[in-house]
Amino acid sequence: MEKKISPAMIRNFSIIAHIDHGKSTLADRILEFTGAITEREKQEQFLDNMDLERERGITIKLQSVRLRYQAKDGQVYLLNLIDTPGHVDFSYEVSRSLQACEGALLVVDAAQGVEAQTLANFYLAWENELEILPVINKIDLPNAEPERVRKEIEDIIGWDASEAVLASAKAGIGMEDILEQIVKHIPPPSGKVEDPLRALIFDSLYDPYKGVIIYMRVVDGTLRKGMKIELMATGKVYEVTEIGVLTPHPVAVSELSVGEVGFVVANIKNVKDSRVGDTITDADRPAQEPLPGYRPITPMVFCGIYPVDSSQYEDLREALEKLELNDASLSYEPETSTALGFGFRCGFLGLLHMEIIQERIEREFQIPLITTAPSVIYHVYQTDGSKIEIENPTLMPAQQKIERVEEPYIKATMMAPNEYVGSIMEICQNKRGQYVDMEYMEGNRVNLIYRLPLAEIVYDFFDQLKSSTKGYASFDYELIGYQPSDLVKMDILLNGEVVDAFSFIVHRDRAYHRGKKLAAKLRKLIPRQMFEVPIQAVIGNKVVARETIRAMRKNVLAKCYGGDITRKRKLLEKQKEGKKRMKSVGSVEVPQEAFMAILQMDDE
């Protein structure tokens, strides 16, 4: 059992970086250096534990580790490293986990220099008033230019980098300097031990044996085993059955006090009851105020998810149930499509979140999926005075019944070096953006603010922004409410029949262009059938685009192969295999990719 730790000896920090700048490797080296993991356990990138995360280089789930470090001053410090996810879809989670820290290591690649997410993450940390310690990583690379990068940090970010540690996480260079800086520069936690308990939830995950495990940081007071706690946002009360810290192996403790980071198990059945950003307090002596900054997570992007093989519907439901246990921001409900059969309408934080969930279902549960184009929630005011909210384009009422439609708008904040202002503005104009403000900042940077329809962002906004600014632009957004728009529902007819899974809602001004483009794209994606297939894009009864898939003329094996029937069977099997990846819509065989076609249309 550990002795009571004085908050003065605690340092809570996280590591922030652009993708691939070596965040995870640095975390591993710090763990190794402080003896948290032994040589034997050394597994590349200890903190990221999902395959998918490692492949994409993105951290999705946060974890924290408690480290003991004997500093040069002879004292033993307790360091808590809190990992953060790395994508704008999860910026709320990032900001909560940063809020659990007093400082952050800003890792910058010695060759790549400052990049988009370096900036975005820096600003998140800065807003949370963290002490930011620059680390120039990968200095052992042949093309490393640490001095240029040091200057870049000062010029572009406007942050003093004179003391930036020159490091190579891979080669283990600079680890001690980093730890010394953490101890010296990051302030200790400042909460009050005697105050009622307030602990910040920065993550939670579902464990099949223990129920929900909450990861939190104690801000004020003390959390004890056996205590009755209240989660302030939901008002629910639970009894703490286990408290512990990760070293990174879980170690049970009897209490956690001011500044300490650890986990709590309290018989909570659902991650949705333990929301990130919520405050844990003592049910018998509750705090007056929760910690600031909590915001309930609401899905912003919706799409239909269907099994390619309709017999896997129940498997899909189970997969979603399992994923939901661990993902408070995923929502789903059953829906039916005439084209795709039974499936689910799912809600996500954003596009990346959507892609990750799709990939996990396909990979971990091995259910091939067809997903429909993403949609947002539209508010439809009908002529009879009623208002409906629709998140599925097929539910859009007939035009004559609609008084007006409102769509969600976001306030987008984009920051970039000023040579990219033109391109960013162009993208925003193309996406129906309304200019709000522009601010020139130190270090040759510009901060641009636009109001944009969320529906435009869920397509390829982020990719476009990245590519036209060479990755330098940062992007953050918040929902600011609904505005009326001249929106219409566009339907796609294949062989004269509406395919509901292809319907989408679009601004009238771009309807013609989108319809034409989509029809052309579908013509390329849908293989020829035994008969001619007309593709029509229509608004109401008006056809705005028409394409034709020419009929396949002949498909028959001529040769006999001298009695070698296996060869013939193999060829036929290949043909049949190809068909399995298609969905029959009416009499037309449509491949999976066609349903995603709407997603991949740029608006040029």
Partner: protein, 378 residues
């Protein structure tokens, strides 16, 4: 049931055609004599294991069987006769390439019991023949058929190909007219399929194979289906046409999913619910047999489901289609019980039709045979 058909593969050619992916090796330096010895040993092993009934068809294919010397041919035919009880009405076919059919050789073949020749004519345009790597000319086709007739062969078949690089629809029309004027009893009319590993495949990858487009290729097929019947050849299978009563007995073995001995390098066989494939490499084939072992590289049991599938896939290639009674007799199940759903769907799609007891391809079904066949695979 014991097989009553024999296929023998002679994997030698004077030259490899550009589209060919059969087991065929240029004959120079090949151990032909040893090969024949091995073949004889293989026959012996088979008939000892599975004694044959009266043989209704023998097909000697290749390669180019007629590349054998007169002595070698004599030896080959004699051994077939020794090991297999040839029925009096047996159809005995040898594949022949026009440049290899000397009167003497054909005479020997006739003497030994061969009664049907299948000529690889392919096309009657010299430039097209050259472009597909054939080494005979048009005149040689005409001459070799004349020789065959002179020697006394009356049952002749000609192989024609369409969809050849640079071939025009009119070229095929001329070919068919000329071929029909030679008055054979049977035609096999195949569309070119570019197979992996062939010279054509390589050229295609390089973008240097000017194949006719799909429209033209379809037009050629439809032309053959129109012209050949006008000359008295009825289409009885997707790629085969014959005068009445002259349909190939041997190929019907395959189409009716019946058993047959397959002998020689690269040959496939179907005996006692088992299909097998022989070693393709000639020297390996010989070596294994010299060690008194079977030259089989793979062998597998065909279960009932697969048999029924094959019955449909192969049988539907025939214009007459498949018989429900036949199916019931062979598998003791109703065809509609096993494939009812597929049959119904294909009928709805207009690819199959019922004709009394039989199911057969429709006009559309003939063009989209693969859609039909693939449907029966589980």
């Amino acid at each position: 049931m014991q097989p009553n058909a024999v296929y023998i593969h002679i994997p030698f050619c004077s030259h490899k055609c550009y589209y060919c992916d059969f087991t065929a090796y240029v004959v120079d330096g090949q151990p032909v004599e040893q090969y024949l010895t091995a073949l004889e040993q293989e026959m012996k092993m088979w008939v000892e294991e599975v004694p044959p009934t009266a043989i209704q068809s023998v097909f000697i294919g290749g390669g180019t069987p007629t590349i054998l010397s007169i002595e070698q041919m004599k030896r080959l035919l004699a051994m077939v006769d020794r090991y297999f009880p040839i029925h009096a009405s047996c159809e005995w076919t040898v594949e022949a390439n026009p440049e290899t059919t000397s009167e003497e050789l054909l005479h020997v073949m006739k003497e030994e019991g061969v009664n049907r020749l299948s000529f690889g004519a392919q096309t009657f345009h010299l430039d097209l023949l050259q472009q597909i790597g054939r080494i005979h000319g048009v005149q040689e086709i005409i001459d070799s058929i004349a020789i065959a007739r002179k020697v006394g062969f009356s049952n002749l078949s000609l192989d024609l190909m369409f969809g050849l690089p640079n071939q025009r629809v009119i070229d095929l029309e001329e070919t068919i007219q000329q071929a029909a004027s030679l008055n054979p009893d049977h035609f096999s009319c195949y569309s070119l399929k570019v197979e992996e590993g062939t010279r054509f495949h390589y050229l295609e990858q390089q973008g240097k194979l000017p194949l006719p487009n799909e429209e033209a290729e379809l037009e050629m097929y439809q032309l053959a289906r129109k012209l050949l019947p006008q000359h008295g050849y009825q289409q009885y299978e997707i790629s085969n046409f014959a005068r009445e009563g002259m349909e190939s007995i041997h190929n019907s073995t395959y189409w009716r999913n019946q058993t047959f001995y397959g002998l020689g390098a690269g040959a496939h066989g179907y005996i006692n619910h088992q299909r097998y494939a022989n070693q393709k490499v000639i020297r390996e084939y010989i070596k294994v047999i010299e060690q008194r072992k079977r030259p089989i590289v793979s062998r597998w049991d065909v279960d009932k489901r697969e048999m029924m599938e094959n019955f449909m896939i192969m049988g539907l290639r025939l214009m007459e289609g498949v018989s429900r009674a036949d199916f019931q007799m062979r598998y003791h199940l109703e065809m509609d019980q096993v494939f009812g759903e597929e049959l119904e769907r294909l009928k709805k799609q207009g690819l199959l039709m019922n004709e009394e007891d039989r199911v057969r391809l429709t006009e559309q079904g003939i063009l989209f045979g693969n859609e039909v066949f693939a449907a029966f695979l589980s």
